[in-house]
């Protein structure tokens, strides 16, 4: 491996890791707040990417502007989904049943995308799609940089919301001990709904970032959900910083391993990390006990 190739792969890994971090953050949030395994997270991601593409096709404006619509929309959809679907599941079997429920939601979204926009692969074609900035011999694609910046800003905002606002405190209290949270007067149902909405809003941002640099098609979400699930387990279910760190490490590892191993084997790094985590530290490497998350 030459130095230039190493540097290039490292940078690509960090950029990819940033996007994974944002997407995994939403996924781990659902689990942390209400023990829901949200298979449809990446389907909403692709839905947001389609909306960004459609917005760009129709208006000719930059797909990033579609965030103004999709983020609030997804927040509301997420809130509604929690209140009217997920909260109807029996608490005793919530986690397993949520897999089935959200799997169905994912299939529905995929089917609707195919129905409305057909299976044709779509791509947002922008002035700056192929352009890059060169820093010390490493090319950084503008679209990847934008995606990374979006991810970093959103993750930062999420962190601030959870740490500094009273809603964040209520959300964390609901995560740590729902009964105790109710005793001190927190409307945990409402908080859980808002938490779900917040998670889905991150999917809107991630999907828009994705649309800048990827060809999209209805079944694309299956390629994302596997690595994302692995990331949140490695990071510790429910821990947002854990998910972010695991995403970054695994993103970089996949990118660097690709050089000696090739594409096929580099993809397995996520699952190898998952197996190792389950064998030696099932609670995750960066999360600690669920009650102490965030």
């Amino acid at each position: 491996m030459t130095g230039a190739l190493f540097a290039q792969s490292l940078v690509l890994g960090i950029l990819l890791g940033g996007l994974y971090a944002l997407l995994a953050a939403g996924l781990t949030l659902y689990f942390g707040v209400m023990r829901v395994v949200m298979i449809a997270h990446s389907a909403f991601l692709i839905l947001a990417a389609y909306l960004a593409w459609f917005f760009h096709e129709r208006s000719g404006l930059d797909p990033l502007l579609s965030l103004v619509i999709t983020v609030p929309l997804f927040f509301v959809v997420g809130y509604g989904m929690q209140r009217f679907l997920v909260s109807r599941l029996r608490p005793i079997s919530l986690t397993t049943m949520s897999v089935l429920l959200t799997f169905a939601v994912a299939l529905t979204i995929e089917g609707l995308l195919g129905f409305v926009w057909t299976g044709t692969q779509r791509r947002v074609q922008l002035e700056y799609s192929g352009t890059s900035i060169e820093v010390f011999g490493v090319s950084i694609a503008v679209v990847k940089l934008i995606a990374f910046a979006l991810a970093a800003v959103s993750l930062g905002a999420l962190y601030v919301i959870l740490r500094k606002t009273s809603f964040g405190r209520a959300l964390r209290a609901t995560t740590q001990h729902p009964e105790a949270a109710r005793l001190v007067g927190i409307d945990t149902d409402r908080v859980a709904g808002l938490g779900f909405g917040l998670g889905l809003a991150t999917a809107a941002i991630g999907g828009t970032a994705l649309s800048l640099d990827y060809t999209i098609y209805p079944s694309l979400h299956w390629h994302w959900i596997g690595p994302l699930m692995a990331i949140i387990v490695v990071g510790g279910l429910g821990s947002i910083p854990g998910a972010a760190i695991a995403a970054m490490l695994l993103g970089v590892a996949a990118s660097l391993l690709q050089v000696p191993l090739g594409t096929t084997w580099a993809q397995t790094v996520f699952y190898l990390a998952l197996f190792v985590t389950l064998m030696i530290r099932p609670q995750g490497f960066f999360g600690g006990r669920l009650a102490q998350r965030f």
Partner: protein, 412 residues
């Protein structure tokens, strides 16, 4: 996991098909029995096609091609002065069904000739039946190597080339370049798929034998979406020639990733993606100079192709695509043999004469002049197209080119 979706679709299609076939008690054309008796009777041609199930889309394309060919022949005096009649049955993309379909067409319906179905999986069992009954078997779609390794001596693939030979015109062109213009190194990336790899590796191996060095050789799984890693390796190799074996989205994503990293090859040969109509829309104005092999294009100037495109467009309103063209080609090949030998009946003598004639002769078709080896592999190559002034045009071979090949490729 596109397979999941395909399975779902297949399941629904299969259910529908079952219901349908239960409703339609008798298959089409059962009343045709008897075959060819006198000189005024039509020549009956039996075909089984995947009109439902996995291959329904291309199957219907082949059906349109066959029907357009039959209509055209009948308008122009028929075959041996007799009208042509098609019996097309639906095999539901099912390999067991396709064999029994051809059994029934030959035995019960008494067809005079058969045409092949769509795709390798169905061609092999169908060809076996035809072989058992001594029938000539010309097929429009079954390019995989295994089709020609079953020991059939009655089979002919009615297209210009099998996958390995798609790039032959380009390979010849590269090897004829002066020493200083010829690429010295090449980077290869292909989807893990027999067809994509066959095409890309055909060119790679020919050039490697001639001394061009392979500096990067990547295979990626069909579900790959992030191509920046592969692009980084290819960019780092700085190869003169880029060879990509793609389907669609993989080719687009790889090209964009390479552009992002500033890789500028002297020549880029990409099979699959570039001949897709969506390609220029996805890449924007950075397609200039990209080369791609194609099995068929309506703009090719072979004499019979102009008639074909005109006749087909008049009937359907749109120019034909590759499936339609290969079906039409199948018709042309069989017709040429029938006209030359002067018979069209199910007797083993007549069928054997048709087979022998095709082994020894060339046929002018809409995809150029075709001839075959003993196993039925066509001996030509695909046309090479290149994006010139923003449009995809034929640049090789010389006799049908629409534009001159641009070399070295402009920067993208």
């Amino acid at each position: 996991m596109r397979a999941t979706r395909r399975l779902t679709v297949a399941a629904i299609a299969a259910t529908t098909a079952l219901t349908l076939s239960a409703c339609l008690a008798s298959p089409e054309g059962n009343d045709q029995g008897g075959g060819s008796a006198g000189p005024d009777d039509p020549i009956v041609i039996g075909v089984s096609l995947p009109l439902t199930g996995d291959f329904a889309e291309p199957g219907k394309g082949v059906q349109r091609g066959y029907e357009a060919w039959a209509a055209y022949v009948n308008e122009n005096g028929g075959l041996l002065g007799r009208q042509v009649e098609l019996i097309i049955v639906d095999d539901q993309s099912n390999a067991d069904r396709v064999a029994s379909d051809y059994e029934r067409l030959i035995n019960q319906d008494g067809v005079d000739l058969v045409f092949g179905p769509f795709s390798t999986r169905l061609v092999v069992p169908a060809a076996q039946v035809a072989q058992d009954y001594g029938f000539l078997f010309v097929e429009p779609a079954g390019a995989a190597a295994e089709v020609f390794e079953q020991g059939f001596d009655n089979l002919f693939y009615a297209a210009p080339a099998i996958a390995d030979d798609h790039y032959d015109h380009l390979a010849d062109h590269i090897l004829a370049l002066p020493e200083d213009e010829r690429p010295k190194t090449m980077a290869v990336a292909s989807m893990d798929d027999p067809f994509a790899q066959g095409t890309a590796y055909g060119l790679r191996d020919t050039l490697a034998d001639a001394g061009v060095e392979v500096v990067e050789d990547e295979v990626y799984p069909p579900n790959t979406t992030d191509f920046s890693g592969i692009a980084a390796k290819i960019t780092d190799s700085d190869a003169d020639l880029l060879i990509v074996g793609s389907q669609y989205q993989d080719g687009v994503n790889l090209v964009v990733a390479l552009q992002q990293q500033g890789y500028q090859p002297d020549m880029a040969a990409i099979s699959g993606a570039p001949t897709n109509a969506e390609f220029p829309a996805a890449i924007g104005d950075k397609t200039e100079g990209i080369l791609a092999p194609t099995g068929y294009t309506p703009t090719a100037t072979y004499p019979s192709n102009e008639e074909f495109v005109e006749a087909y467009t008049a009937e359907h309103g749109t120019p034909p695509a590759e499936d339609e063209a290969n079906a039409w080609t199948t018709g042309q090949v069989v017709a040429a043999a029938v006209e030359a030998v002067g018979c069209a009946d199910p007797s083993p003598e007549c069928q054997q004469q048709l087979v022998d004639w095709l082994h020894e002769n060339e046929v002018e078709t809409v995809v150029g002049t075709l001839s075959w080896d003993a196993q039925g592999r066509p001996q030509s190559a695909h046309l090479i197209q290149q994006y010139v002034d923003g449009e995809i045009k034929i640049v090789l071979p010389e006799d049908v080119k629409e534009a001159d090949l641009i070399h070295p490729k402009p920067e993208w």
